[in-house]
Amino acid sequence: MKVKVLYFAKLRELFGMEGEVIELPGERAYAAAIVDLLRKRGEPWSTQLGLDSGNRMAVNQTLAGLVTPVQDGDEVAIFPPVTGG
């Protein structure tokens, strides 16, 4: 399955991209599977996406967590805690 992954703010700058399409095995997975895959790339991914990084996720434009299910065609965003207002 393929999911569109988007990065914002500090993560977008550090990863040097706004987003990408990632391929995962199977038809469904937890959002955590995406983070695990990205962390295996090494730095800066492994540090920035560490479990203590405090980052947030959204699946299909709704706030989500590591155990949120994702499927083919979903849009998954990873970003630092928001600072609007």
Binding site: L6, A58, A77, T83
Partner: protein
């Protein structure tokens, strides 16, 4: 309900007036305007750039306002949030709430701001004489949002 995400400035007076114009039921309008400060963490701030997640921003603001409308007796709500490059003293955000009585308007206005601060996908980057830096989220904002969880 009016939700706007825009680069341009807004007129708080006109927005407040629009919330009660021609609506004799409105007895109270509470509003909040957030502004760019010229100092942060002891450093001078010369610019503030706001990034957002376009596909999600409006949707998340709408959900926050819908929650407020479910909790309090509201007649209308306006939320305007600016994006792009701003300067000290510029307006960033407007929240206006119209209701019959002031208690609902005051509470809902604060609720919308507290939730916006912790749930709407905006990120601030400050320009300082030392260079640019991303603004870190404050735990006090989480505390402010959390207190609505058990206060009904």
């Amino acid at each position: 309900m009016k939700i706007l995400v825009q680069e341009s400035d807004f007129d708080p007076g006109a927005e407040i007036a629009a919330l009660h114009a021609g609506r004799p039921k409105v007895g109270a309008v509470a509003s909040f305007v957030g502004l760019v400060r010229d100092h942060s963490e002891g450093e001078r701030v010369t610019t503030l750039t706001l990034e957002h997640y376009p596909a999600m921003t409006e949707k998340s603001l709408r959900e926050i306002v819908e929650q407020a409308m479910g909790r309090w007796d509201l007649l209308d709500v306006t939320v305007i949030h600016r994006i792009g490059r701003l300067m000290p003293q510029d307006r960033i955000v407007f929240v206006g709430v119209a209701s019959m009585h002031r208690g609902d308007a005051f509470a809902a206005c604060e609720f919308v701001m507290d939730y916006l601060k912790t749930r709407a996908p905006f990120w601030k980057k400050e320009g300082t004489p030392e260079g640019d830096r991303w603004v870190e989220a404050r735990s006090s904002d989480d505390v402010a949002a959390d207190r609505w969880e058990d206060k009904r």
